[in-house]
Symmetry: C2
Subunit: 288 residues, 2 copies
């Protein structure tokens, strides 16, 4: 999916928000806005949003002199999610369909985000998503593919959401390779975040090689690309990974919450909808 013109003002909104996380100096924030504005003006939008996003966040980090502005927030989100872990584990154990509950929790964890929509309340939003039916629901296909799958690749999204991923992976009952970003971008999970969330106990953690908030294949490492090409089931979390991989012809299941109008329009769905969508059935009528 390529960036839309609606992403243009949104990049500046994100710039403002991120800069304000780190500093209250209006002059510095203004300089960053100007610099991002100038960079956007000269930039092709013939790329997925995560590619442009990376350029934007690089400017912000450079100007702020902070390599990872969301570091503390990521830690806090992981801590908060870990505190929910026992309750969620029990919820899965007591549910009539463990895999279904786990997949919904994995999508629920995607409410944690500071890019497109930073306004969330983890506990409340998780409860709400558990009560919500996915607007696109390819769970039957997912279960079938999972049964046959030998090599599962799991593309992580945000720190904290990683704890929900762990719960889901525990239900997959298969070996999983879990791919995180190589370098800090927004609140996306890095290697250390995955470890801190306990992913190391349930999957092999690798880096995709990117510092984009989405798995942009052109920027991925050779090692990652080999794993990606040989996987027979790819679980892709979040909008960023969807934006980067929506046109790919691989056996991908996209799990996400729609967080902005652009992705809503692209999918013909509504903001706030939750999605469990197979790349193979994008154009097919949605099964019940």
């Amino acid at each position: 999916m390529k960036a839309y013109l609606d992403c243009y003002p949104c990049f500046l909104t994100q710039t403002l928000k991120t800069a304000r996380f780190v500093t209250s100096d209006e002059k510095t924030i203004r300089q960053i806005l100007d610099e991002v504005g100038l960079a956007l003006a000269g930039r092709s939008f013939d790329a997925p949003p995560p590619v442009i996003s990376q350029a934007v966040y690089r400017i912000i980090a450079a100007r702020l002199g902070v390599q990872d502005p969301y570091r503390e927030i990521k830690k806090a989100c992981i801590g908060q999610a870990l505190s929910l872990y026992p309750r969620l584990k029990r919820l899965i154990a007591e549910s009539p369909d463990r895999l279904w509950t786990a997949v919904k929790l994995a999508i629920a964890g995607n409410v944690i985000d500071f890019g497109a929509n930073a306004d969330f309340d983890l506990k409340r939003d998780v409860d709400q998503i558990l009560a919500q039916d996915p607007a696109v629901n390819h769970f039957p296909e997912f279960r079938k593919m999972l049964d046959k799958a030998g090599r599962i690749l799991y593309l992580a999204d945000n720190a904290g959401e990683t704890v929900f991923d762990r719960l889901f992976i525990e239900e997959l009952q298969k070996p999983v390779i879990y791919a995180v970003r190589r370098s800090p971008i927004i609140n996306d999970a890095l290697y250390a975040d995955a470890v801190e969330s306990g992913i190391g106990e349930v999957a092999r953690i690798i880096s995709s090689g990117v510092g984009t908030p989405g798995t942009v294949l052109a920027f991925c490492s050779h090692e990652f690309l080999e794993t990606y090409r040989s996987a027979d089931l790819i679980i892709s979390k979040g909008q960023g990974n969807f934006e980067a991989l929506s046109d790919e012809d691989r056996p991908i299941f996209f799990l996400l919450k729609i967080k902005c109008d652009v992705v809503a329009r692209h999918l013909g769905r509504n903001k706030g909808d939750i999605i469990l969508m197979s790349s193979k059935t994008n154009s097919l009528p949605i099964p019940g």
Copy 2:
């Protein structure tokens, strides 16, 4: 009130929205976004938002080759408001306090806007605002000042809202001078819009001399400024006029709906709140 940094991305959102009203050519829209972005980057924010807004909309109009992109929309809004006129007139006639109902309707008319928030449904929103208590309510002071006032100046905001202004002016029972913008800016009322709304029958219509979406005194005509300085009651409609005049030491009553987070924060109120506020009592506790 000076522009906040939050206005920066909002100017680009407004640019996108306005350009899309006129053209679907993505390349042209992109060029306009770039040009506005570059203009913002070099611009001082040490001015009320309407001043910057004018520069933004001038770029849009020049690039689109359309002097008044909202012309048709303004006509449609006036038509829609005129069709509600008989019902609203009856509503006032049948109400226990005609002036109070009329002032609330005048604020309700302020939902018509294509700047800060273009998402409105006139009939539904009017009903909702009539049922809503103002978050700031200086109506007792307003009534007192009105009783004594000899020279009333009324600062118009949007086309269509003008019909609601007419209903309000009819209840004032005093001579009123009604000031509109000199040249097209967003959907703000011009002379012809005021006439079409029937304002000519209840007030003398003058131009403030500005093409800014708010009465920025530095840009006003000498004729208007004389009227402004000698008025003993000034009724100011909408966010734009509030942004331009909020620091003024004149007997102004601000009637508006809060349409964006910036003004909400500035006033310590919420987006969606309706306001009837005296400039003289800004810092006083709010009477019941």
